[in-house]
Subunit: 451 residues, 2 copies
């Protein structure tokens, strides 16, 4: 039989996360205090984050140990399978070899628990009682809710109001885990009340929901804030994906020529790519990285690399990142997890250093690719993940055109079982493509803070 | 670390299905022709089913080889993990050991593809072009749709109208796989038109949808019918679950004292139980089997063991099974997959021989158990699967009361990501328990055919 799947035993679960900061040819820009605009100190961040997470955020140690209690939980669904997409290759009639790492086997159906579990663990260890966080479509909120229930932490999730109302099912999952879910903007925070005063009908944004969660954490001693993407420590936790994929491709006797991931905040992309990039930076094999983002929120391909806030109320530290401006509100396309104005500073830095490519793909092509994938491979991807699928298919068709048998690896970061409304809308012809107008982006960028 | 998970390598994927008919102390009753009421012949069934499936239906061979092409696809998500539910054990403070087999990792999120794939395979092999089938909540229809897309077969699914309208997401999944989904009763069949004539607002039932699909298959030479449960060959295909679980428990150094499964048509229950039961019947270790069904559709605990039709229009053969009468329409409880008037003849036979216990549990307890499970183990079960969870928890609490450290194995046959509306209704207090009134059952049973 032709091998379809590469499985690892529990022994192969990584014992350490890989920290790209150890191998970067140029150090990451400093993070600035939102008030003083001077470099931030760990003490400044202490009211928001668990101490260990702050350490990880700035660490340049190459390998950071994964605590046993965290590994014990990750082992429930890890190591995740690596698949050779033989049926898709055949459907595309491509000489390329396509592999995908399947993160949808986690209990919440995406890669998010990889970081939710350690974040809950460190907070519990440091005596924290409650976590405040935000969520867009709900993948992160439900994963954090699950992790909190496992460590007996309270969990408060600010969910972007439009999703709260339109997508009750992810919310129901959070509530099943015992989390409290509040539609954002809400009247429970100063940031929320201010927004509602100006616009009572505001349907919210990730940037607003972050402001609310950060505010709650800052004002309550027993509460800390958790974020599901963007930050260095989040990308660090996701590197289990890439480390496993390295071992699995070794089993397959292959090495990727190109690695494709979708980018919203950048965590699943960093998770699969950085261990390979680290190898390359330490003198190992070359590999091309390809970040695929939605045309409707083109952070990497049309945003600026600049210091910006992570939220609307400007409560977060200033980070150097690709951004469309913290006030940017993307059009209503169907990948809630990719609707963020900024991008992980590490992914932005890697792009700046010329170590990654980026490409924007419109949603009609992404859904068509998602359906082609489902028909061949059986798995229906989350709308976010269809961007990676579309990128991988583009690469496979390029290989066909060029007559090259390259090896393509992509991260299939979650299943679409919660997102079938998007597929219905696609089938009924209700979705349209959306190129964000240059003027709108220019306007959003004109509001970037001066530092 | 305490082991949580027992994984098998690809080599351990069963090469043969286990056929309980080889070891039954008393042969299964014959199947009767719906017209003549005489024992049915393979030729009678040929217009409906692929030949190989008819052979498997009546085979008494103990081990039936799984074709390589089928194993190649099953390997995508099999062998599925077996988990020790240590966190649930702790939450229950029970001396019992609880293991669960996790079937929700398949692309459609349940155990159904285990039989959808071989059914599609054999039909393709025999030159069939199109499959007609029915589905209740949609787990089966989406699994059959997936299998058909993999073997390039057309797929026509009659979906119970109330689910078609209320649960568009499973339907969208079928359509993503390229299947055609029709609300049943429909005007595309004689059976459907007759029902609609009598009751234009009829919201359908599984028994009606079966009539429509069977009719289409019977009338088109290039079309065959497929069923997702009840039949012997379906239960046969599901035995991969139990065969794997045997190997995994051996790894764990344990053997079940009791095995719990939920029963609608009986396939996931038979799948996990029969390989163990076979061992016992061949002189191996004793094991108690416990079938858990919904109180609102109490086929095993309140139905009769009698010859009955599988459908409303009385087109199917007559089989000896536990039944509430083919005209029985269960109350609108939230486990679409368990709303069937009949029960697998093999499960019925096993019950009659005293080889299995059966218990009905009401839905409020099932949902409470599902949520307790999700909080401890992270996985939110499908409403159907919560019946197995509730049964396992009852057994674990019994062990606690009796101070016994029994080993409990249950089948967690699917995830609840498509079923969050049921959890919302539960949280909002909209669900109620439902004991089907004895008179209603008596009336339904009074219509049983005389043979």
């Amino acid at each position: 039989m032709n091998t379809l799947k590469y499985l690892l035993s529990d022994d192969a679960l990584p014992t350490h996360w890989y920290n790209l900061q150890a191998d970067l040819p140029e150090a990451m820009p400093e993070v600035l205090h939102p008030g003083t605009k001077k470099p931030i100190t760990p003490a400044d961040l202490a009211p928001l984050f668990a101490e260990e997470l702050i350490k990880q955020e700035v660490s340049t140690e190459r390998w950071i140990e994964i605590p046993d209690a965290v590994r014990q939980i990750l082992l429930q669904w890890r190591c995740t399978p690596l698949y050779r997409a033989r049926r898709l290759e055949k459907a595309l009639d491509t000489p390329a070899k396509i592999y995908y790492k399947w993160e949808g086997v986690s209990p919440s159906g995406s890669h998010k628990p990889n970081t939710a579990v350690p974040q809950a663990y460190y907070n519990k260890l440091e005596g924290i009682r409650k976590i405040a966080t935000e969520t867009g479509a709900g993948q992160w909120g439900s994963s954090m809710g699950m992790a909190c229930s496992m460590f007996d932490l309270e969990c408060l999730v600010y969910m972007v109001k439009v999703s709260y109302n339109q997508k009750p099912y992810r919310r129901a999952l959070m509530e099943a885990y015992g989390a409290t879910c509040i539609a954002s903007p809400s009247d429970t925070t100063e940031s929320g009340r201010k927004i509602l005063q100006d616009d009572p009908d505001c349907t919210g944004s990730l940037g607003i929901a972050i402001s609310e969660a950060v505010e709650v954490a800052a004002q309550n001693e027993d509460t800390r804030y958790c974020l599901g993407s963007v930050l260095n420590h989040v990308l660090l936790h996701q590197t289990v994906i890439g480390i496993e994929a390295q071992k699995q491709l070794e089993m397959a006797g292959d090495y990727p020529d190109v690695i494709v991931g979708c980018t919203g905040g950048g965590s699943n992309y960093g998770g699969i790519c950085f261990p390979f990039l680290g190898e390359k930076l330490r003198g190992g094999r070359d590999v091309r990285l390809l970040a695929v983002e939605p045309s409707a929120c083109p952070t990497l391909t049309k945003g600026h690399l600049a210091y910006d806030y992570g939220d609307v109320a400007k409560l977060t530290p200033l980070v150097m990142m690709h951004t469309l401006g913290s006030g940017f509100v993307p059009a209503g396309f169907h990948s809630g997890g990719l609707r963020y104005h900024g991008m992980a500073p590490m992914v932005s830095h890697v792009l700046k250093l010329g170590l990654s490519d980026a490409r924007a793909i419109n949603q009609l092509e992404c859904f068509a690719s998602g359906i082609q994938f489902a028909k061949a491979e059986g798995i229906i991807p989350a709308p976010e993940a269809t961007h990676a699928v579309a990128g991988a298919i583009q690469e496979a068709l390029r290989c066909k055109e060029e007559g090259k048998s390259e090896t393509i690896l992509f991260n299939l970061c979650g299943h679409g079982h919660f997102d079938m409304q998007a597929y219905i809308d696609y089938h009924e012809g209700k979705l349209r493509d959306y190129e964000y107008p240059e003027e709108a982006i220019a306007m959003a960028l004109s509001g970037l803070p001066s530092v």
